[in-house]
Amino acid sequence: MKKISTGRQILSQLALAGVGLFVAAPLLNLLGIAFDDSLQGPPLEFHLLPRQFGLAGFTTAWESPAQGLPFVVFLKNSLFIAGGAAVLAVILGISLAYAFARMRFAGKRVGLFALLVGSLLPPIALIVPQYVLLTRLGVRGSQLGLMAVYTAIAMPFCVWNMRAAFLAVPSEVEEAAMVDGADAKNTLWRITLPLALPSIGVAALIAFLVGYSEYTLAWLLIDKGENVTLAMALSNALGQYTVSWNILSALAVMMTAPVVVIFLALQKFLLDSYLFHTGLRQE
């Protein structure tokens, strides 16, 4: 493919700058509020820059955002629960996705949609059934119970995403491996999986975010302060009308930052088509 011309380069950069403004404006607004020490409650007028620049919001949000516990505890809980759910969803879903992409079995067409049915329920509809189920399983109130719930919510989406990724891998590549004597498991593990890795990474991050930002179910299923997640802490703070919005915004910034970091760290790996192309060229 040809490289783009200079005119096109400029046009593209201008368009991207427009989108950049749309993306950045709310983020800057959030940062501006987070650094504004003059706030007592919600902001009552709009300011481009903080009126009284300070770090009080961040120090409070760091030391004790909710439940009298430090930020680190909530972050740890969130990373454990949401991360665990993402890993579980991908691991449990990967063979399912592969089977739906590559294998033949009875009820395949119906099954693919049946997988989604569970995810069609609005999240809040899960409150009572999961309460009953987790009580029966004896894990209600524990972090593992919440992790299981998030896994169930995220898994169908994961399966669909990963199935599409597997479908996109040319089947000739797999057939070649089969001819060379690899069995189905080995082909999946050594050939298909690496090629589909970018999309699987995206699926995992989507699954992670389901658990990372959910709070309604969590408030019902978690009953100890030490198990509270970041999203729960933030929603709790948002519900209290007396809270200063610099603390609230600082907490939102601090909650968002780890995800941004995770993504930026993985970005090159996720979107680099290196794996894919070397995989093809070696044929």
């Binding site: 493919m1 040809k2 783009i4 380069q9 593209s12 950069q13 991207l16 989108v19 950049g20 993306v23 404006a25 709310p26 959030l30 009552l44 007028e45 063979s95 399912l96 592969y98 033949r104 079995f105 009875a106 395949k108 949609f113 989604l116 049915v117 069609l120 329920l121 609005p122 809040i124 509809a125 009572v128 059934p129 999961q130 009953v132 189920l133 009580t135 719930v149 169930a152 898994m155 989406f157 669909w160 995403n161 990724a165 996109a168 189905a184 970018p198 999309s199 995206v202 989507i206 990372y212 930002s213 309604t216 933030l234 948002l238 939102a252 968002t256 995800v259 941004v260 996720l270 979107l271």
Partner: protein, 711 residues
Amino acid sequence: MLGAPQNASVICGCSIVNMLTRGLNTFLRSRAGRLAVIALVILLALATRQRAVDLLPIDYDEDDYLRAAQQYQEAIRAGDWARLTELNYRPEHPPLAKLAFGLAIAHLPETDEILDRDTSAPPVNVLPYPHYKVARNLAAALGTAQVAVLALLNPLAAFFLALNTYNIKYTSQIMLEALPSLTSAVCALAYLRYRLTRRRGWLALSAIALGMTAASKYLYVVAGVAILADWLIWIWQNKTGRRRELLRVVMWGAAGVAVFFLCNPYLWPDPITRLQSSVFYHAGYADSEHVKEAGLTAGNVLARLFTPFIQRNVFLIALEPIVFLCALFGVAETWRKQRVMALWLAIGLAFLMAWPTKWPQYQLVLTLPLSVMAALGARGLWRLVAPSAQPAASKEKPTLRDTLRATPFLLPGLIALGVMALFPILYQLAMSLTDFNTSFGSFRDGLTGGVWREVVAGLTGQKDAVPFNPSFTRGFQRPDTVSYIALQGYLAVLGNGLVAALAPLNMLWAVVSVAGQTGLGVAVALTLNQRGLKFANVWRALFVIPWAVPEFVGGMVWQNLTNPKFGVLSSAPESLAQSLLSLFAAPLAAAWLGFPIIMLAASAGLSMISREALEAAQVDGATRWQTTRLVVLPMLTPLLAPAIIIRGILAFNQFYLFQAIDSPFYTLAAASYDVFQPSRQGLIGISSALNILIIAILFVMVGVFNKKTAT
């Protein structure tokens, strides 16, 4: 296909259901089948209207129009034909529809004239019997005739019209709507026949019907305006015979005016003055206090398109939301195939929204073209979901061995999903059949097995359904235990006006918000994918950030940014821009939150499309835009479909966003939460029925989308 030898396994796969479907199809396409369908629709129209005649309470204005009919009755019985030119009670409306009521009751004995009261007076309790029934029956017969006329054009549209609650109501009462509804339908359909056959006889019929329409109620002339517009567009598009055709337009109009005059004896003695006072009455009335007090807005007119008229026990089924959705789907098709109907709806809607008087009966101007549009839309939708005629014989059925080989791959995921995802649905279904709620006794009983106990007992017939108060309000006596209520919860949900109003809006929201996210996401991904683009990684790193922001934080920030009082544009003049911005806060926030995932999925997809295909296209001389449109997007669509489906499901059930943003509209999921919440209604069972409804709607939407994008 016909000559090919039939594969034995295909015949086996072709079940009885399939054969029945094919047989039914053949029957419906035959002349007898079509007639049978039309007869059924007419019977349905008659039945619904007769039921309404019997059950509807006496409404505003019915006393006035029956009083007018009494005056005509008296004159007709006395043979005093000259008096007809002087009679016109409620002179703001032309006399034909009132005269028709007078003719209908002419054979009955005369009774004392009904009291002359102010037009805005509340409904009376009693009207002379059987006069009032006879007059209502005439309206119902005319209403049924309207459905019958439409059934000749399109039986499905007639079916929708037959069940439209506004149509049923106002063509079953002593209102002026029934006659002009019928004549305007005749007017439009005769015009369509003329366009098809070029016979002038049809044109004459159309003109007669037009005149009668105007002589019954002015508003319905909207149909004539639509015909005129459609006709002129057609003449403008055709180069030949313009002169002759324009002459016919003039003749048609003149004949219409002549018939109007003939059918309007009140005008005969003094045409100009009486016509003036009758027409100008409406402008004055539109400004009157009575109209202002009603406080009806353009929003009410729009809302009536998809919300049924609620009158318990009179209307058994409310198809309005479904009809409206089908109609949305059929807009383009209607414009192509039945433009006069599209124009009728558009002009009627524009007029009703602009004109200050917006009584609910005016809706009948819109229901016929809306039904046609919905019928065309429904046919298009059916084509999307219907199984294709050709059996997929190319793929062999999977053998038991195939299935066994796949089992180890399927099992771990299925077990996990079965426990964690299937159980909630089953439990949801069970709860939806009970009156489970958050009052202390019921909650305790339900959580400790009461739901299963009741549902099992109810479904096995050991227990009858307990009558359930279907109102969504709090405060009725709540029992201490859970009880089986069968499908009453679903009836309560389906009959609820809020649910009926939210359902189509909710679907619209899902479609619009996902379309926005996808458009922006794909455009950005394509831009970033250009070879040699500078700073691509920097931009991508920035664009992905909103995705990492939890939904309710994003909602919170956008709410803050777009707040009319102190948002980013609050200093703009008159704050018009600001109020627009706050109106679009929810879709903007949704696009902001959602586009990064689509961008990522599109980027990942683009990295999988082989460069060879693109290079081959460019070698063949395709421009960049052609390559994108013809090579890249078709390859990208199946890769993006899962992401779009997921975003669609999340958008349909969007909840946290609407917790953070003040929006005049919210999703069914949010409504379900309100029903569920202990501090609101606390009706868990009803909320479950609503959730099952949500699943059903989403399932259809996902199926349609998947079928459209599947390669």
